[in-house]
């Protein structure tokens, strides 16, 4: 064992020597400069990936909550179709790269807009700083998303700063369900919709797990349905969310036929969902699959008959 350690130490020295004199300190460890270069490269790569995650999520979610506006009476906010952030709102490891590559600072700056949504139609684009929204100053990107429950107006005035100059834009108001979605880093396949929370939180594990936008739409519809019905943590609440969630996704034009397979894959990857447990509120997946299959038949029948996609309600 000791001989092995000595051999490894010798190997480490040899490798260090091979890596070039400037890349390491006197102990043969990589120098701070060499580490900083690698950290920058990884952060640049990671930040691009983070933005791609948010772009995919927002691209699906804005469609779902816009098409589901009528299912969210009294719980509506305009759908803007933009993603903005301050440096502080990003994961710590990405802040330096975000300042350097995207010019982020303490003011909310647009990172991307979705084509054909109000922000893009009003001419907003990546790099714009959002100064005022509906006449009020906005300290961070979260407050941009929280503002502007739709009233009587058809448009909302937005003041932006672009290359040092202030400009005004009129954004069309398109009502949608209140709750924006945000991706956060966690390996487990999870989505959270806490009552009273302003956001749907979707884990990066879930974004990887949902193989298509159709699958993602089914997940987002389910979570939106939770927030709308307020039925959290009960079996009936979960089944309601599945049912209503399919309507949300179908109204936005997504193919909800993927729903049963999605939940089956979920139960295979995460067997905890196979049993009922106190801490686990989702219904057993097999039951879910059968109920979903029936829901899909119901939606298909309405489509074929040219009827609006309204969920059935008791009397």
């Amino acid at each position: 064992m000791r001989a092995l350690a000595a051999a490894l130490a010798a190997l480490a020295c040899a490798l260090g020597a091979a890596a070039g004199a400037r890349a390491q300190d006197v102990h043969g460890r990589p120098s701070r400069e060499a580490l900083a270069v690698e950290a920058d490269r990884l952060a640049t790569q990671g930040l691009r990936h983070f933005i791609a995650y948010q772009q995919r999520l927002l691209g699906v979610h804005e469609r779902v909550r816009q098409a589901g506006a009528e299912l969210c009476p009294g719980q509506q906010r305009p759908v803007l179709g933009l993603f903005a952030a301050t440096a502080e709102e990003l994961p710590a490891a990405y802040r330096a790269a975000a300042r350097r590559d995207y010019g982020l600072d303490e003011r909310p700056r647009v990172l991307f807009v979705l084509p054909d949504f109000p922000a893009a139609r009003a001419g907003l684009r990546a790099g714009d700083v959002i100064v005022r929204f509906g006449g009020r100053r906005v300290p961070d990107a979260v407050s941009v998303l929280r503002m502007g429950a739709p009233g009587a107006e058809r448009t909302i005035r937005v003041e932006i700063e672009r290359t040092g100059r202030r400009e005004e834009r009129e954004l069309e108001i398109r009502p949608g369900c209140s709750f924006p979605a945000s991706a956060f880093y966690h390996d487990e396949v999870q989505a959270f919709a806490e009552s009273g929370a302003a956001f749907l939180a979707i884990t990066t594990g879930m974004l990887r797990f949902a193989r298509s936008d159709d699958e993602l739409a089914v997940v987002l519809g389910h979570e939106l349905a939770h927030l709308v019905t307020g039925g959290l943590g009960t079996r009936g609440g979960e089944a309601d969310a599945d049912y209503l969630g399919c309507y949300f996704a179908a109204r936005a034009g997504f193919d909800v036929a993927v729903a049963p397979v999605l939940w089956r894959r979920m139960s295979l990857a995460h067997p905890a969902s196979l049993v009922e447990r106190g801490f686990y509120s989702h219904p057993p997946s097999h039951e879910r699959e059968l109920a979903l299959a029936a829901t899909l038949r119901e939606i298909q029948a309405k489509r074929s008959a040219g009827l609006p996609l309204e969920p059935e309600r008791g009397t």
Binding site: A92, G205, L274, R313
Partner: protein, 309 residues
């Protein structure tokens, strides 16, 4: 417009006040579907267990020389008892595979000592090297502890006792054991010797080469335990030794950089490289900048060695 909005809101609110009237499947239908899904999930779990066994076996046997004194005989079986399964798997494993309180062989790796000696799926392991077996852990421990002896197994097969002596094949000591979790990681087993790999990690590894890289990194930690100083040093050292294990076992070590970079996309906190970061907690598999440099150097060294031989 406001009036219209209010009217619409009123209509919709009235609609929402009424409970949803959704389809509900019957009980018999549910229970049939339950069995099918659970059976499929169990089969998938065993398939993953067999994949981990095969990759770890190749690493442990082919690269045994690099593990120094940390070697022991190896069996080449996937074995389990009821207690090893969680959730409804325990019941199902009993129904489908007959897994009860005894440790049962679920898979035998082709070409392994167990296969050569004639160990079969469904054999129950009653004793190893003369010691009675109660837990799955006992099997691995007994084989490991009698490091110089050829493993002797006493098996129950269809109601009969069979004694088999396995060819002694030297291998790195650590068993790689699968644990059901979505986390992308490998961690040391609580028994202080073996390692745990998550189902999340097994799925994330797109090839056996990638899985070998993840397993070898953790194996190297075990081999190096107590020989290096700081965590930063030990992570990079585990990468250097890990890549040697991978290359020695004939896996493709060159996928290591893309693999760990892909992992880093999912774990931004792993980019930290010094104590100045706000969160000084040590997470497993962190310190990626130092690790990337170490891996790049190790791969170059391996390539040079290959060129001179």
């Amino acid at each position: 417009l406001r009036a219209l909005a209010l009217a619409l809101a009123f209509v919709a609110a009235a609609a929402c006040a009424r409970p949803l009237s959704r389809p509900a499947p019957g009980a018999a239908e549910i229970s049939a579907a339950e069995e099918a899904v659970a059976g499929e999930a169990l089969a998938l779990l065993l398939e993953r267990g067999a994949r981990v066994l095969a990759v770890a076996y190749r690493l442990r046997t082919e690269a045994a020389e690099l593990c120094g004194d940390d070697v022991a005989p190896i069996l080449g079986v996937l074995a389990a008892q009821r207690q090893d399964f969680r959730w409804s798997f325990a019941e199902l494993a009993e129904q489908v595979y007959g897994v009860g309180d005894r440790v049962r062989v679920l898979h035998v790796l082709e070409g392994s000592p167990a296969a050569e000696a004639g160990v079969q799926v469904d054999d129950e392991i009653a004793a190893v090297n003369g010691r009675a077996i109660e837990r799955t852990d006992d099997v691995y421990r007994e084989v490991r502890d009698a490091a110089s002896a050829a493993p002797r197994l006493e098996l129950e097969r269809a109601g009969r006792r069979i004694a088999l002596e396995l060819p002694r094949r030297s291998a790195c000591r650590q068993e790689a054991r699968l644990v059901v979790s979505g986390l992308l990681t490998t961690v040391p087993h609580p028994n202080g010797v073996d390692l745990l790999v998550t189902t999340g990690m097994v799925e994330f590894a797109e090839s056996d080469d990638e899985l070998a890289i993840a397993l070898a990194h953790e194996m190297a930690h075990g081999v190096l335990a107590g020989t290096t100083g700081s965590y930063l040093d030990s992570e990079a050292a585990a990468d250097r030794l890990g890549l040697r294990l991978v290359a020695r076992a004939g896996f493709d070590a060159s996928v290591a950089l893309p693999f760990w970079e892909r992992m880093t996309l999912e774990h931004p906190w792993a980019i930290r490289f010094d104590a100045a970061w706000p969160d000084a907690r040590e997470l497993p598999h962190g310190r990626m900048p130092a690790r990337v440099l170490a891996m790049r150097a190790a791969l170059a060294e391996l390539a040079r060695e290959r060129a001179t031989h």
